[in-house]
């Protein structure tokens, strides 16, 4: 505005824009827009798109100790699809996701509804307490649980349960993940609950609804989009399961194998065996699985959520 006042020469043009200046101002607007987007775009290109393009490129090559690097087209992908170890990992994370996701969202929703209903000092403390595990770095949290699971120094050592045998370890890992992330999801859902209009509850109460009915029939459907979002993040997280199994691996390498999840397998291929090309192919395949899985979920819940 001040610019217009200080330079009257521009004023007539602004009053009656000709076609020419209109186009120019469009260009200028577009340029301004790009300028605003620039910081994000640079980061996106430099740290996501370029590395992805590079990874895709190396996934098309094959490098051997004797012959060096040769162009292999989609051979690595073919090998990964045929690799029983990749398949075993994919099946494991799918099963894990199928069990883990409802448990996680159930726990988070229950906690969110409870602290939303109660507005005592206790609820504030509980909210913080449930959120604290999320503030603990994943590596530290997992190491801590590793000690808790120990059968010589752990608090449950007297029970005679081996928490890291091949039968129990997936559940033990699920427990760690729930501990770590349920609080975070709870906060997401709780924030959504806080945004709902309170009058709705009042009218429900007048209509004779109990608190449980309000929680299940009013509140839960109204935060459907937050639920979908939390579920989506959980699905993505479980499919890319990596840190926890990698950290607990030394406790029982027979149960948590080097191909326990696709990500662990890709990591091992790259950093233990220097099979960067094959590792890149596995990562891209996993990316495709995550993408398809997320899409199926969004498609299935499209009526409930605002996310499409």
């Amino acid at each position: 505005m001040t610019e217009v006042q200080n330079s009257p020469a521009v004023a007539p043009a602004a009053a009656g824009p000709s076609v020419k200046t209109g186009r120019r101002s469009h260009v200028r607007e577009a340029a301004t827009g790009w300028l605003f987007v620039l910081p994000f775009a640079v980061l996106l290109v430099a740290f996501l798109l370029l590395p992805m393009a590079y990874a895709f490129k190396i996934s098309l090559y094959r490098s051997t100790l004797i012959e060096g690097e040769v162009f292999a087209f989609f051979d690595n992908y073919k090998q990964a699809i045929d690799d029983p170890l990749v398949r075993e990992g994919v099946v494991r994370v799918l099963i894990f996701g199928l069990i883990q996701t409802p448990v996680m969202i159930g726990v988070a929703l229950l906690a969110a509804l409870l602290i939303d209903a109660a507005t005592s000092r206790f609820s504030r403390f509980f909210r913080l307490a449930a959120f604290v595990p999320y503030a603990v770095p994943v590596v530290i949290g997992t190491l801590m649980w590793g000690f808790l699971y120990s059968d010589s120094i752990g608090p449950f050592s007297g029970l005679g349960i081996d928490f890291v045998s091949s039968d129990t370890v997936l559940a033990s890992l699920g427990n760690i993940v729930t501990w770590q992330w349920a609080g975070y999801n709870m906060i997401v859902l709780y924030a959504a609950l806080q945004g709902l209009p309170r009058e709705t509850y009042e009218s429900a109460r007048i209509d004779g609804a109990t608190e449980v009915q309000i929680a299940l029939r009013i509140k839960t459907p109204m935060i459907a989009s937050a639920l979908v979002l939390a579920t989506l993040f959980t699905i993505m997280g479980t499919l890319q399961f990596f840190t926890e199994p990698l950290i607990l691996q030394p406790l029982n390498p027979g149960a948590i194998t080097q191909h326990y999840t696709p990500n662990v397998y890709a990591y091992q291929q790259a950093f233990s065996f220097q099979q960067y090309n094959y590792s890149a192919a596995i990562s891209f395949l996993l990316g495709a699985v995550v993408f398809i899985g997320s899409y199926i979920f969004l498609f299935a819940t499209r009526k409930r959520s605002a996310l499409r």
Partner: protein, 449 residues
């Protein structure tokens, strides 16, 4: 990077600038490593040689070296233990920059790094002149003919550490053969009502299992860097199967435990009365001392049980060396550092190495010195344990490693661990490892025999 010590050093302005630049470049992941064959022109003042190693108490060795040398200065970095360091090293070597001049390599890793031609032939820089300081098997681990890929530092001849208190409590005798070992294990199981195991079989440690194979005379690989594209794979040899069958029986009968090595539960087992013996390497005394302090004074060392009574067959578990990478700007000076830092004549370094870091030296003059051979260890109730380890070291035979040792160890540990977990046949697991290694080697372009 030892930035803390840096300012205290009395160095010329030029080398300060060079070192600062090198540090900064190392931090950003790039450095000016020259890969010309000719050594670059030397600057005036001491040349900085970057060293990666994870020996305990290594700072003392470095300080000592720097105080006694005017032409070179070591800049030491602990870039992680074992695989962590190798991962960083592989990445830096592949990138062509960021690798140190001199690097600590475990003996089993040398062919892996030598195959990709990232190690400087130290033979060109006079390394063959120190050959006489080492016994044959140790020198063979680091060389191929006149080519020398690394200078040996420490080794891990195996022996049996046992708890004297548990042995006398249950009336066990020190076994001389593996048959006797099993008998004592049965006796222990009955007498302790299953509370104590004769030992723990750490199937997560490829070096440990390879050491036992080594003792039994197995040769999993036939490989010579002089003919780098051809490899013999015999992972499931009769000798290796003999070892694996024996331990399958021990574990199956509940005589040996299978807790993973280097875990809290394992250390607690050593400190408590859970394990009566520990099949240890030469570096074991220092390692156990640090991790199972509760049991100090109760341990003794005896030779590893034999497969045939009266024989003296031995194996090695672990050990390391110093190699020079192709990114060294002054390979002659880097080679000098590699040869001297834990050299046979460097008694000051070995004083730290033996007394503080508990390394088991490979250089014969150090091994045979009175200070080492007659050293009494309080942890072993005053026993001169090197009277057991030194003869064991000298009796070790040759053993070749594959140029893809991570894969080799991975196959061993994964398949045996899975067999333990699923209670399936261990020898079948060894067959699987053999097949997988052969497939892998073929895929990598080797001529497999």
């Amino acid at each position: 990077v030892n930035i803390g010590n840096f300012s205290a050093r009395r160095v010329s302005r030029r080398s300060v600038v060079a070192a600062v630049a090198a540090t900064a470049l190392a931090l950003t992941g790039c450095s000016s490593g020259g890969d010309d064959d000719k050594p670059a022109e030397k600057p005036t003042g001491p040349v900085t040689i970057k060293v990666w190693a994870w020996y305990p108490e290594f700072q003392g060795v470095v300080d000592n070296f720097n105080a006694t040398h005017t032409d070179v200065k070591i800049e030491w970095t602990n870039a992680g233990t074992g695989q962590d360091q190798y991962t960083k090293l592989q990445t830096a070597l592949k990138a062509g920059k960021g690798a140190p001049d001199v690097v600590m390599l475990e003996l089993q890793e040398i062919p892996t790094f030598a195959l990709t031609k990232h190690l400087v032939d130290l033979g060109k820089y006079g390394a063959n002149s120190v050959k006489g300081d080492y016994v044959e098997w140790a020198w063979k681990q680091v060389s191929s003919g006149e080519q020398v890929y690394a200078i040996p530092v420490d080794a891990g001849p195996m022996a049996m550490m046992y708890r004297e208190d548990i042995f006398s409590k249950y009336g066990l005798t020190v076994p001389k053969t593996w048959d006797e070992y099993k008998q004592q294990a049965e006796k222990l199981k009955t007498a302790s009502a299953g509370k104590s195991f004769i030992t723990d079989f750490g199937a997560n440690d490829g070096g440990f299992m390879s050491g036992l194979f080594w003792q039994a005379g197995a040769q999993p690989y036939t490989y010579d860097l002089a003919n780098p594209t051809s490899i013999g794979v015999n992972v499931n040899s009769a000798e290796a199967k003999k070892v694996i069958e024996y331990w399958e029986g021990m574990v199956g009968a509940g005589l040996a435990d299978t807790t993973a090595f280097h875990t809290t539960d394992f250390y607690n087992g050593l400190g408590s009365e859970k394990y009566a013996t520990y099949l240890a390497a030469g570096w074991g005394p220092g390692y156990i001392q640090a991790n199972a302090a509760k049991s100090a004074g109760k341990w003794k060392v005896a030779p590893l049980p034999q497969w045939v009574a009266g024989e003296n067959k031995q194996g090695d578990w672990g050990g390391s060396s110093f190699a020079v990478t192709d990114q060294a700007k002054y390979p002659d000076l880097a080679a000098k550092v590699a040869m001297e830092i834990f050299g046979a004549k460097n008694t000051d370094a070995w004083k730290v190495g033996i007394d503080k870091a508990f390394l088991f030296p490979t250089a014969t003059p150090v091994l045979e010195s009175d200070t080492f051979k007659n050293k009494q260890y309080d942890f072993f109730g005053g026993q001169k344990v090197n009277e057991v380890f030194v003869p064991a070291y000298n009796a070790i035979g040759p053993f070749a490693w594959s140029p893809f040792n991570s894969y080799n160890f991975n196959q061993l540990t994964t398949n045996i661990n899975q067999a333990i977990e699923k209670k399936t046949s261990w020898t079948a697991a060894l067959d699987t490892a053999q097949e997988n290694v052969k497939t892998y080697a073929t895929q990598q372009g080797f001529k497999v025999q």
